[in-house]
């Protein structure tokens, strides 16, 4: 029993949330049951993720390949359960549990009646399952399917908010995201035409043989995938949909979108770049330079735009654009430290940004004010919400002992290793700009006189969610051991594959 559970664990992690998602509508009227089920699924998911990470870290026979349905590659679908997958699945579990907890009391305000809440949970579980799938699949077509699932559930989550703005934002998002999906599909199609394989490793091997005979097709495939994933991961200048979508969505959804969904695309893109194309091809087509350059521009422009925003959630959304720049920059550094930096930054940003969005959501729903200027004195009236917000902000700025520092440290080390002094400067300027757009919020919240108003911290589950995430931020900063180990091994694997 245990052995069977252990072998099939990765599949369960992906399939169970999706399966439960489709059962939820059957008891849509009993919201308590739904919440209970979701919480149970998430707790199981966390346990499973921790177990998986533990196995990957400490057992010898990992990473393993799981063959779906007994059809071996290259015919069947292969799942690779390695360090990268374990790292990302663990991140998903860590972030999504508090988000579910937070959603419990929040959704009635932001989403509406019971049936809409039930739909929200359906999309939520689909999103989680598909993201986990992205981390483990080794099959290109699977990647496309999962990208579609994530995109559609994200659109649904955005539009689940009451009011017209959300629907409009979701529609914009849908149009651009569909364009992105089409490009991804096109890229995958090109690779399939060239190599005849959908399995990543087979495709990679074949591509190594054939790319010289049709370099332009490879270039097309690469650029389609780059732009497609760029749109989805909100890489500057393809980020135009993100500020609206992420700021209009209900707060738990914003947290998931900014914290996890974008990271799923980046993980997939990372696998496609490093596993399929590999070092030689990326060097040949100059992808590294483009990645670094676009990453740097994204950091600077994203941060500057965040600085100009007057509304809290929009500022956070633009901050995500800037942080995505860091992740792409790390991808372009093409050394172990750089990739480790990207992975660690990805994990820490997932936790930080979901915490920021949840705290912002709590503040906004308690005060009804969206403008940063109107939040004077919130810090005293809502100590938990603003306190956790402060911790997350300091971490995003890159204060040591909090999680953001470690990712930045490795990114800078990676940039130095790649001999790129300019990107070192941009990383640091990025954190100074980050301080410039986050600290004023904290200053206004704590150091300006509060108006007479009955603002209060949210209820117990929401407080618990915020505190859990804040504890995550601190723990990741103080005891990041397993994460660094996983990220280091994953980075080494990705670089060795070629």
């Amino acid at each position: 029993m245990t052995a069977g559970l252990k072998t099939n664990l990765p599949v369960f992690i992906v399939v169970i949330p999706m399966f439960v998602a489709f059962m939820l509508p059957t008891f849509a009227r009993r919201i308590k049951w739904i919440e209970g089920t979701v919480a149970a699924v998430k707790l199981l998911g966390l346990a499973a993720a921790a177990w998986l990470a533990h196995m990957v870290l400490y057992e010898k026979d990992f990473p393993v390949k799981y063959i779906m349905g007994g059809w071996p590659a290259p015919w069947g679908i292969e799942l690779v359960i390695g360090n990268l997958a374990a790292l990302f699945i663990l991140t998903i579990a860590i972030v999504s549990l508090p988000v579910a907890l937070f959603a419990r009391d929040n959704l009635e305000k932001e989403v509406g009646p019971k049936q809409r809440i039930a739909r929200f949970y359906v999309l939520y579980l689909l999103l989680i399952g598909a993201l986990a799938g992205m981390a483990i699949t080794n099959d290109l077509f699977n990647v496309f399917v999962l990208v579609e699932v994530v995109t559609l559930s994200c659109c649904g989550l955005v539009s689940s908010r009451k009011g017209h703005g959300a629907a409009k934002a979701a529609f914009n998002y849908l149009i651009l995201a569909t364009l992105g999906s089409a490009l991804v599909l096109g890229g995958i199609g090109f690779i399939y035409i060239l190599t005849g394989h959908l399995n990543m490793e087979f495709a990679s091997a074949e591509l190594g043989r054939v790319w010289q005979s049709s370099p332009h097709t490879v270039w097309m495939a690469l650029s389609f995938l780059f732009v497609g994933f760029g749109v989805k991961a909100a890489l500057f200048p393809l980020h135009v949909w993100l500020p609206d979508a992420h700021s209009m969505a209900p707060s738990p959804a914003s947290a998931l979108l900014s914290g996890l969904a974008i990271k799923g695309y980046i993980i997939s893109f990372m696998k496609i770049l490093y596993v399929i194309f590999g070092h030689t091809l990326m060097q040949e087509y100059g992808i590294y330079r483009i990645l670094i350059l676009i990453g740097m521009v994204a950091i600077i422009i994203g941060s500057l735009s965040a600085l100009l925003q007057k509304r809290l959630k929009r500022r956070l959304a633009f901050s995500t654009v800037a942080q995505v720049g860091y992740l792409f920059l790390g991808l372009g550094l093409a050394n172990k430290e750089g990739l480790m930096g990207t992975l660690l930054y990805l994990v820490s940003h997932a936790v930080i940004k979901s915490l920021l969005f949840l705290a912002a959501g709590a503040v906004i729903s308690a005060t009804g004010k969206e403008n940063i200027r109107d939040l004077a004195g919130v810090g005293r009236k809502m100590p938990i919400a603003m306190g956790t917000f402060t911790i997350a902000s300091l971490s995003l700025i890159g204060l040591p002992l909090l999680s953001g520092f470690i990712g930045k440290w490795h990114l800078v080390l990676g940039s130095l290793g790649a001999g790129d002094i300019l990107s070192v400067a941009v990383i640091i300027i990025g954190s100074i700009l980050c301080a410039a757009y986050l600290l004023p919020i904290i200053r206004i919240a704590y150091f300006e006189p509060a108006p007479e108003a009955d603002w209060q911290d949210p209820g117990l589950p929401q407080k618990a969610a915020l505190i859990l995430l804040a504890a995550g931020v601190v723990l990741l900063g103080v005891l990041p051991g397993p994460f660094i180990e996983l990220a280091g091994r994953a980075a080494a694997e990705l670089l060795l594959i070629q």
């Binding site: 470690i406 954190s431 410039a436 200053r443 704590y446 994460f483 660094i484």
Partner: protein
């Protein structure tokens, strides 16, 4: 190690305790502030005495693959002693200064937390810990800078944050470059060569520049000094303690640390930048004090004067000579007390008479005779006259510059001394100009809380000036550590 940890956490614990004491329980809060300041002081004296006795105190750990360590060496111990001792005086003074004012809870809470962080800077044993505390110091002192909450305070606060975070960013880059060059960031080992010993290449010039520019923000090297005069909107004890001693000294401390523990004086001698830096400091010394003479607001005058004096210490360190470093460390000790006295006096004057401008202070001396006496003593120290230890530190600084073979630098100290005289003597003379008209305003408990620490400090300053041997062992330990 237990002393080290408790010395570090005393201030933090105090800050947290004070934070939960209700605003109107003033006596309880004052008691807590004094209790924790005194215990932090005693504990850091204990730590320092262990360090001077040659006992290695060490606490270390790892954040993932980045290791940190706390391990004070003589230089750190001297800095810790200065900070924690003056903190107690500033705590007593603050109780008087803040009495009857609003938001005391926030003030004292961050005041005590800053003590912990400053001691962290002093006691850190590798660059990661140093960076951590250096960056934290910016954040925990920010609420003190914007304590008044006026628009100009907020503006000064933003400037403070931006300057200091940019500096910290430069330091972070430099630390990571150092790490990738040598794989080692630990500077606490006794008898071990500096971290970068044996490295060569002109790129090191840039690395040194990054470090000096980064720490130079807090050390207020021109042109990175702009935040300091603005930060004078803070309450006077904060200006006195943080912006004349603790915060700016953490920058000075960082520069000395970089030169002597990371590069080593032998390596800096070979770098081109090493021969430029003394002139940057000399420029700051003269320009700072000249601007100071032109300021009418007393606190701003003192601020520009701070900028000038900090570069004395830096210049001493930049000479790369044992005597120069001796002068630098002695000046760290003696200048800090004198500047705190000057600021304390400025605070008393503005609290008791409402005057902040020097031109309006005619006759103030007659209503505040004790204050102005202390002010006069400290002014004499700033000029470098004998009963005060700045005379000795200037002597060693000049000797160090002459040893380094650049005698014009010694001249800088002489010129600066003359301008200092122009800066302070008129102030004192104006204060005692006219005849005695107003009654004495040095009465009441508020005044006593402010006056007593000022006078005690003046007494200590004269004592050290007459018997500089009392601080000599500490300085000797620092010199032996690096040469």
């Amino acid at each position: 190690m237990i002393y080290l940890i408790s010395a570090l956490s005393a201030g933090l614990a105090g800050g947290l305790v004070v934070a939960v004491i209700p605003e109107n329980r003033a006596r309880l809060r004052n008691f807590c502030v004094l209790f924790f300041s005194v215990s932090a002081m005693i504990l850091s004296w204990k730590v320092a005495s262990l360090v001077f006795a040659g006992i290695k105190i060490h606490a270390a750990g790892k954040i993932g693959d980045i290791s940190w360590s706390l391990a004070p060496d003589p230089l750190g111990a001297v800095f810790g002693l200065i900070a924690s001792t003056l903190w107690l005086f500033a705590a007593v003074y603050s109780i008087g200064y803040m009495s009857g004012k609003k938001k005391q809870r926030t003030y004292f809470s961050f005041f005590l937390i800053s003590l912990s962080i400053t001691l962290g800077v002093a006691f850190s044993g590798n660059m990661v810990a140093l960076y951590l505390f250096y960056e934290l110091l910016t954040f925990v002192t920010y609420p003190l800078v914007i304590h008044e909450r006026s628009p100009e305070a907020v503006k000064a606060g933003s400037k403070y944050i931006i300057y200091n975070l940019s500096g910290a960013g430069a330091i972070l880059i430099a630390i990571i470059i150092t790490y990738s060059l040598s794989g080692n960031l630990d500077f606490s080992g006794v008898g071990t060569p500096p971290i970068l010993a044996g490295c060569m290449g002109s790129g090191l010039n840039w690395l040194l520049l990054l470090y000096v520019a980064g720490f130079g923000v807090k050390a207020a090297i021109m042109p990175l000094h702009r935040w300091l005069p603005e930060a004078m909107v803070a309450p006077t004890p904060v200006s006195a303690l943080l912006h004349a001693v603790a915060v700016v000294y953490s920058g000075v401390y960082g520069v000395i640390r970089v030169i002597y523990s990371i590069f080593g004086h032998d390596l800096v001698k070979q770098l081109q930048l090493g021969s430029i830096l003394p002139w940057v400091a000399a420029f700051t010394i003269l320009t700072g004090v000249i601007i100071a003479t032109r300021q009418d607001v007393l606190k701003r005058r003192l601020a520009y004067h701070t900028i000038s004096q900090l570069s004395y210490i830096l210049l001493g360190a930049f000479t790369l000579q044992p005597w120069g470093l001796t002068g630098a460390v002695l000046h760290m000790i003696s200048y800090s007390m004198l500047k705190v006295i000057l600021f304390f006096c400025a605070g008393i004057i503005s609290e008791q008479t409402g005057e902040t401008r020097v031109s309006n202070m005619g006759g103030v001396g007659w209503s505040l005779p004790k204050t102005l006496t202390a002010f006069a003593i400290a002014s004499m120290g700033m000029i470098g006259m004998l009963p005060l230890s700045t005379f000795w530190s200037k002597y060693y600084l000049m000797r160090g510059s002459a040893d380094g073979g650049i005698w014009p630098l010694a001249l800088v100290f002489v010129i600066s001394g003359i301008i200092n005289a122009l800066c302070f003597i008129p102030t004192v003379v104006t204060a005692f100009k006219e005849r005695k008209t107003a009654p004495s305003r040095e009465t009441g408990s508020k005044s006593a809380f402010m006056l007593v620490p000022t006078l005690i400090l003046a007494f200590i300053a004269v004592f050290i000036g007459l018997w500089p041997g009392s601080v000599w062992p500490g300085i000797q330990a620092v010199i032996n550590r690096f040469f």
